[in-house]
Symmetry: D2
Subunit: 408 residues, 4 copies
């Protein structure tokens, strides 16, 4: 059906792509041997290192986030080796399942999908692995299914406290760019990102950052691999970087997006995500006061700034929200996944987003909830506006608004 106006894309990825990025893709391919291509790749790699905050190596794959998982797993684990996956929700589940498909002995560390990963439990689990069989701990930084973000630094501390040699592998697909992440400082060995979330590009690229410890571990792993192989891709010939033809248009887009990130400033981008996320939480809380909705993440400091998962009343099929919002109210939302299927919907608030975009989204969500007869407070938008009005100046706003002399 024809829908006038701009679609508000508020799934937790892919996210809205800036015009500048789309324009960067709107061009003829480069001859693969053209020096301009090498420059573009280098510019992307340099900026990705800044985004990961690492001095390690970064690899770019023509693949999606699951391809990124496979790249990390293939290099680190031989079949039969052991991974520990702390439960965070649908994406820890999927990753664990992916690992099993690759012949990896995968242990789940149970968790509460409304809470961050418990570092104490991780420490205890690793202490229990006296034989040191666990080769790596695979953690999802922000599980987009639950909207919960874990404290990566604390998880590294837990591993260290347990004096366990496990590598720390972090899926930062949903968080990279949107939330602080400092790979080297936090002791992460491998991190996995993708192009279509806070990095504002089209889907189609996965990124791996690997520190020297991970690179060294990979060398001795006995698993046949080539496309994903770090050692091969690290070779000097340009075509090895991508194990064949470079995904040029993805790279053109990525370069433009990373330029934008750098120009706005990584910290400013993260601050912006946090401001907009708070506005969403205030709205959901205001709707919930008189109603049936609540943010899944129980603790404010464990909420992802990329996506908010909202629980719906039992007995109501939350899938209707997604469908109705998209078909009738012009906003695309995420649905409930895994244990939350049918019981939640999700608002993505990541990427190239600003205040009127998120406020327009929230208003359309409220219209959707009302259309479907869900009880919902009327103060959602005022609460979100209040949050933005009072939570510090938006970029460029005068620090102290000039006073207005209005005659009574």
């Amino acid at each position: 059906m024809h829908q006038p106006g701009r679609q508000f894309l508020h799934t937790p990825g892919p996210s809205a792509i800036p015009d500048r990025v789309l324009n960067a893709m709107h061009r003829q391919p480069l001859d693969l041997s053209d020096p301009q291509l090498a420059e573009i790749v280098q510019s992307c790699l340099d900026d990705l290192k800044l985004a990961f905050a690492t001095a390690g190596d970064v690899f770019i794959y023509a693949a999606n986030g699951h391809g990124g998982w496979e790249a990390a797993l293939s290099n680190i684990f031989a079949p039969g080796e052991t991974a520990l996956v702390p439960e965070t929700g649908y994406f820890s589940e999927s990753w664990a399942s992916h690992a099993r498909m690759l012949g990896i002995d995968t242990q789940i560390m149970p968790g509460d999908i409304r809470r961050a990963i418990d570092p104490d439990r991780l420490e205890a689990t690793l202490r229990g692995d006296g034989a040191g069989r666990i080769k790596a701990v695979l953690v999802v930084h922000a599980d987009t299914a639950t909207g919960v973000a874990s404290d990566i630094r604390a998880l590294r501390a837990a591993i260290d406290a347990a004096r366990h040699p496990a590598l720390l592998v972090a899926d930062v697909v949903a968080s990279l760019g949107a939330a602080p992440f400092r790979m080297d400082e936090w002791g992460v060995d491998v991190a996995i990102g993708a192009s279509q979330k806070a990095l504002m590009g089209p889907p189609g690229l996965a990124f791996i950052a690997a520190n020297p410890r991970a690179r060294a571990a990979a060398v001795s792993v006995s698993r046949p691999r080539h496309y994903w192989d770090w050692e091969y891709r690290a070779g000097v010939e340009g075509y090895r970087r991508f194990c064949g033809t470079a995904p040029e248009h993805g790279l053109f887009a990525l370069q433009a997006a990373l330029n934008m990130l750098r120009e706005e400033g990584l910290v400013a981008v993260q601050h912006r995500h946090a401001r907009l996320a708070r506005a969403v939480w205030r709205a959901v809380e205001a709707w919930g006061v008189a109603g049936d909705l609540c943010v899944n993440a129980l603790r404010p400091d464990e909420r992802s700034t990329s996506v908010t998962t909202i629980l719906t009343p039992s007995g109501f099929d939350s899938g209707r929200i997604r469908e109705h919002a998209r078909e009738c109210r012009g906003v695309a939302l995420g649905g409930g996944l895994g244990a939350l299927a049918g019981r939640a919907f999700r608002i993505g608030h990541l990427g190239d987003l600003n205040e009127p975009m998120i406020l327009g989204c929230l208003a359309a969500v409220e219209l959707t909830l009302r259309d479907l007869g869900l009880r919902c407070g009327r103060d959602g938008l005022p609460a979100a506006i209040e949050s933005l009005a009072s939570s510090g100046s938006p970029p460029g706003a005068p620090k102290t608004p000039r006073p207005v002399a209005v005659p009574a």
Copy 2:
């Protein structure tokens, strides 16, 4: 300064351009003799006739709206002939001034810029012109400076009641597409439109619709003219249509935009504009209850569905709203014009617009008003949402929302 996210363009023109229209422009030129070009032009002319609701002739000019004025005036008036311009605000003023520059004896019929043109007054004025010196009445359908729309049909009735031979010339630049307009049925002789308002294209094209009576009048007008001349442009050779090279990319864009209008349905488009406009009025009224703001147009039935002009407190420089909104809150608004300079701001709500877009705009306006210390009620967004929730289904919405059984 870098601003993340999409700019919300809420000036009363140019308006947001749909991606499909931008894509249509993103192409190489056509050889001017390519039959495809003739087909595109014909498709535009056919659709413009539907938009004007006329069986008369339509002319497309590489020009802006002022060029459209000049095209109409040049064909209808010899120097020294007389025009009557009912005052509606800044645009009636500008048009009258334009007419004077073309040597036309221009009379202003005074009016109230918070009200529509008074048909009785028009009738009386014309009755006073016993000599029939007034050759045409030039009315602005929706004056974008004031947000007031006049009743064109009533004005024609007034002319007829006065038994005056004056032509009726309507500037529908801001209303065409957004509000009902039926040129032939309403007895309009000449109508003037432009590409960059509700027709969703880039600025650069002006349109004239002229009925046989206007065409006949033009033939006998003694004024040297060529670029604007209808008679010349009506010739059979293709290059005469544009008096030279066709503005191809404007036409590519126009064709795509008119296709979209036709697909959505002209009546549906006007209904959508009315729904979104009402949401804006509800918000402004809610802000105003506790505050200092009000809609300029005094009567609801005289409000333009394209743009709302909002009066600000005396003593406050309304220009600050426009600047702050654009620089700090991500929304581009119109300023006060003419008599309202410094005393009003304007929200454009025309073109390719939907609910989350206008709601996001309104929320950003509220943030702006608060930033600048203006007193303003907090119920603006709830009122706008309520208006949309209750004012009929949006396109595609189920007529009767399925009831939800939520356990208490």
Copy 3:
């Protein structure tokens, strides 16, 4: 009919638009009060002054080249005043006819359409105008119908030699950017350009450069005008520059195109046009040796570097070449115009063009000529290649190719 591959657009305007220019147009409009818009306009005006080589004023119109003619004529001539138009071909004819429509007493100075305007004849004609009735001489620099270019500097010298006060007005629509033009140095008072030729933009903008003498003359001209009026457009308020809404997308494109011109270097661009034009002439001459074709312009130093007009055998309808080339051989050519209708075709070689583009065009023209049974030599391409190989290095080519030691 579907045609694979890129269309070769070799009409003498519009010309191929660079991707960078199309990308610049692929964006949302700017709020008309956005300071970015003023910056873009200023950048365009500054670069146009460089292109015209003038310290005078430049005006940009939403219009086509004929609109540019009208702008110049409206400002300079009151009805009844006299213009002298030296005959150059279809475009001098059209311009004269345009002038007459504006009430200007227009005298044609006869000429040979295979030769440049004769300065001696101009001098004699002006000497014959003892009363000084001729207010301005209107010359087409490169008449795209004939492919002949005149020597503007010599024409100014002729006017001066006749001690005649006439203004010199030059149509440089087809030559601006492609051929040297130095308005101030050559004593041109008004020059008229357009966007869609060597300036590489989409059609839709006309440019006027006017020196102080022309500006002064315009002030005293008694002709009602507004859209075209220089005095009004020279006012300080931004909206006066365009007499209303700015043609934003045309300006976005223009800025990008002028940036490209500046980066390549205006002299380098002209040198490139001359090189490519020579290759075309060599090809036509080689086809003609055994055949029926010749370049219309009799003297090499009077050939336009923008377009070559090629005469076809009498008895052959040259319109078939244009149609067949476009429908079957993938290249769009110009047809014969005016006195040359049916007797010539034209190859445009202006704008964003390089060697393989013009050589591919020439090869497709040869295929067309053969398809239609015209006698034509087989050495056209070798001659064109030889011309390019020997006529100096292309941009970036090593000055002295490194010698190759190939074993016999």
Copy 4:
């Protein structure tokens, strides 16, 4: 360095992308659950089946051609199983090396890189494998390094004649779309394609077609895999098709490109490739008569219609041709690969290509050869033009050109 005009991209992939395909990519992402996405994917799969001429399954991967190799190898071979790779040139070499990295016991069947794979030799080799250890024969249909194409149908006949159970796996990356390929009819079990060659898209997608025999074989292969796994991707849930997020923009482009292929007609596209390839061969032969160049593929019926590899004189570094052509003459060519490194260059003539494009390319190549002092005949272009003039009508050309009566 700035280069005016359009770059002629004549590497054997990526190839020039049609504007329509670039426009299709220029859009916002779709919500992954939007039914429109499923429709786009289905349209791509249906059209790919037509392109492969198979009733089997097609899988689309976010990956490049090497990813396609890995997908095929991972599903068909357990580590330790045996592959036979007939030597064709650099790409058979690379594929064999890729197979070895995946732990596959890889045998090379030696060949002549100027000739197609010898079916008799294949039959003999397979007869020699009495134990049936060879699980699959991996053949490159058109090796882009050598420009030689093999007869896939004859290779299947050889396998059958040897009564060997080996699967036949064909890399049709360079030929798919450009040359006839009928997977089911020819008895190919698995075929591998990619987006950036004759399919006219940006690089980033690999395609696998697998018949039921291959699918059955894959099920029993004991190799840990997930991203590449056919069985998983064949599942009903939409997200399984891509093992995660769909590469949306690649799919948008692919759909548009496949629509174009279907509209032109697959047979017409192949015919067009053959015509243009012949023109290239005629040019190279004419250059070579007086010079030092020859087509690598010894037999005309074994030449690829996608790419022509041209041998250069010994003692000359052919890399200079590629660099000079790109930097100075505006055309991007392929270099020599593998055994031909430094001894050959390659002209890609595949994808969205027409006559003036390939003729312009050839002319620029001739300029390059002359610049570098290589001996080369002057009749290259006339020979290419003659080939096109006489080799049947181009699309849309009148079957019998109307005779022209030209007076002597």
